[in-house]
């Protein structure tokens, strides 16, 4: 199945030709979880401050993903 992962801040900087607004299209086996998607992109869960699946905030990295899901992954950021 295909899912889309949108990366933000320093996570995005690793990808030179990162596509805004599409994100990264990942091909994953059916039944894959958010954790699997993050592993495929070499993102360590402890470096993630906020996750959204289909625009809803979630903390459950073991939640299953479905075809076409959009995942958004944010590292720690601050300032202002």
């Amino acid at each position: 199945m295909q899912v889309y992962v949108k990366l933000y801040a320093t996570f995005r900087l690793k990808y030179k030709d990162y596509d805004v607004p599409g994100g990264i299209c990942l091909e994953l086996p059916p039944g894959s979880t958010i954790a699997d998607a993050m592993q495929a992109l070499e993102i360590q869960p402890e470096k993630v401050s906020l996750l959204r699946k289909n625009e809803v905030i979630t903390k459950d990295i073991h939640a299953a993903l479905a075809e076409g899901d959009v995942l958004e992954v944010f590292p720690y950021v601050g300032g202002g």
Binding site: Y8, V20, P75, G79, G80
Partner: protein, 567 residues
């Protein structure tokens, strides 16, 4: 480190040794001490009884990272409360090089215009008529011509001269641009009311600082810098992307003020994000990772170039972008950068300006998203038209004038770029800070244990943050150097710095007692100025109007708010 007292009525200057009683006061704490001891809290903020205090923090002049922060204070003409606004730039660093802890500007020379020139052990009030009416960029360029390129400048533009209650005191950065601002609370108008247009600081020489144990100090600084660099925010995200990195995440949290705080999510967020800003400036030859003051290992600042690759502005920050962008329905970084430049030049608080403009948009004066309309309103402020003068009194005054119900202010100062309905810890700070709505007094954005829309636990979160921020503002350190204090080892390095600088027994409690004492003095000043707990409230629409998309309201009861900062 000396005090320099400047009497604007008599036009005299006097250097003073502050004495032992002031030894452990700096920055925000020193401002609170001087104001509570010397200024009648009931005074007219724009009258001769008020004092303008410009000072450095306890660690100024040392190698402690970001220790050149400059605090500016007085009674605020915007809020009527005590006020400390601090800024980066080079002036704090230069004051230390001139052996100064504080410049205290007293009395007033109404209708006159002076320049205060400060060298090593010298200070003179010079006639400034030739500079009257100039805005900050041209003023600084002319002062550099007259006094040399290496000077530091603390100045006001036309807004401060006109007595606008949303006016800033601007400070030159490492490039010599007047782009750093002690922005909040209208302190520019206090400086203007004194008849003081600018303070010119000579570059001076390496600061003379005495240490109880120099070697221990250096080693604590080294460890603390390592802590800053190892932290993902101060070590990675901020140097790469600046504070604007917050746009996308605050938007995803549903807390990005949009169209006068009517939504927490803006469809144009990506276009005004830190990621976009960094990409754009890499293409145009601008700069991210810029340090606003010498000795900053973070460098959250930037140099922003326009479409033609020419300098437009610097220190272009999240709050400015969010409040003049999303909150005004504007999705163009270039448009917001032009607003930022105009604000720095004329000397307007970009935050108060963004919320004021959005209130005008809500009233139908101009449509949301109308960049040209915004520029025209800024021009009205600059020209001093009747409506321009209303705008210059800030968001609350403008909202009342236009009959707007939804006015996002606390104690007359506009809320910052986090909607408190979706970030409730920061909401408690807006409500209860002695400064009026001010995110820098305790922003819960990095809080991990208490969820942002959760009701319980926010008062404690805010109280702890407010103590921490008041401490940092008194040490004279940029609060961004403090993210790493989530690790107690780094608090230990700060304690070691204070012990080895000043001697005596120091521990964590003594460190944070600096912030607690500061807050207590500030509350005392405000109480004597007529404020009570009923002023510690958010605008009522935020308690009843759900904020899309989370549909959260601010539901922390008043009795709970009254438990915040119990000092």
């Amino acid at each position: 480190m000396k005090f320099l007292r400047v009497d604007m009525s008599a036009q005299t200057v006097k250097f003073e040794e502050p004495g032992e009683a002031y030894k452990l006061y700096g920055g925000r704490g020193l401002i609170a001490k001087i104001l509570t001891e010397e200024v009648d809290p009931a005074c007219d903020p724009l009258g001769p009884q008020n004092k303008l205090i410009i000072c450095t923090g306890l660690l100024a002049g040392t190698s402690a990272p970001t220790s050149g922060r400059l605090s500016v204070g007085g009674k605020s003409p915007l809020t009527g409360t005590i006020k400390e606004a601090n800024a980066g730039g080079t002036a704090g660093w230069m004051m230390s090089r001139l052996g100064l802890r504080a410049i205290i500007v007293e009395n007033a020379a109404p209708g006159k215009c002076f320049i205060l020139k400060v060298g090593s052990g010298t200070a003179q009030l010079l006639p400034g008529e030739a500079y009257a009416g100039l805005n900050n960029y041209e003023l600084v360029a002319r002062l550099q011509q007259a006094f040399g390129e290496k000077i530091g400048v603390i100045s006001i533009g036309g807004a401060g001269e006109r007595g606008y209650r949303n006016s800033t005191v601007q400070i030159t950065n490492t490039e010599g641009y007047p782009s750093r601002a002690a922005a909040r609370g209208g302190l520019g108008a206090v400086m203007g009311s004194k008849g003081l247009k600018a303070i010119v600081l000579e570059p001076g020489a390496a600061p003379v600082v005495t240490y109880h144990d120099r070697e221990k100090f250096n080693s604590a600084v080294k460890s603390y810098v390592q802590g800053i660099k190892a932290h993902p925010v101060s070590g990675e995200a901020m140097p790469a992307l600046g504070t604007a990195v917050l746009i996308n995440i605050v938007n995803a949290m549903g807390a990005l003020p949009t169209r006068n705080f009517s939504s927490g999510s803006f469809e144009g967020a990506e276009a005004i994000s830190g990621e976009r800003l960094a990409q754009l400036q890499a293409e145009r030859g601008g700069k991210n990772g810029h340090a606003c003051q010498p000795g900053c290992p973070i460098g959250c600042s930037n140099i922003y170039k326009d479409e033609k690759g020419e300098y437009l502005t610097s220190g272009f920050e999240y709050e400015t972008i969010a409040l003049n962008g999303a909150n005004c329905g504007i999705a163009s970084l270039d448009a917001i950068a032009r607003i930022d430049r105009l604000c720095d030049d004329f000397g307007l608080d970009t935050m108060e300006t963004g919320t004021t403009i959005a209130v005008c948009m809500e009233a139908g004066r101009i449509p949301f998203g109308d960049e040209k309309g915004v520029m025209a309103l800024l021009q009205e402020m600059s020209d001093g038209t009747e409506f321009g003068k209303v705008l210059g009194q800030g968001t609350a005054a403008t909202g009342k004038y236009l009959g707007v119900q939804r006015i996002p202010t606390v104690k007359g100062q506009s809320i910052a770029a986090y909607d408190p309905r979706a970030l409730k810890g920061t909401g408690v700070t807006y409500a209860t800070s002695p400064m009026g709505a001010d995110h820098t007094c305790g922003n819960s954005i990095l809080e991990q244990n208490v969820a942002p829309t959760q009701k319980e636990g926010q008062v404690e979160v805010s109280t702890n943050l407010q103590v921490g921020m008041a401490t940092f503002d008194s040490l004279g350190l940029c609060i961004f150097s403090g993210f790493c204090t989530a690790d107690p080892a780094n608090i230990g390095h700060l304690v070691d710095m204070l012990a080895s600088r000043f001697g005596g027994a120091w521990d964590v409690n003594k460190l944070f007692s600096i912030g607690i004492d500061t807050l207590a003095m500030e509350k005392k000043f405000n109480a004597a100025a007529g404020f009570s707990k009923t002023d510690n409230r958010l605008p009522r629409f935020m308690l009843t109007e759900p904020l899309p998309p989370s549909n959260s309201v601010f539901d922390i009861p008043d009795e709970e708010l009254d438990k915040a900062i119990p000092f």
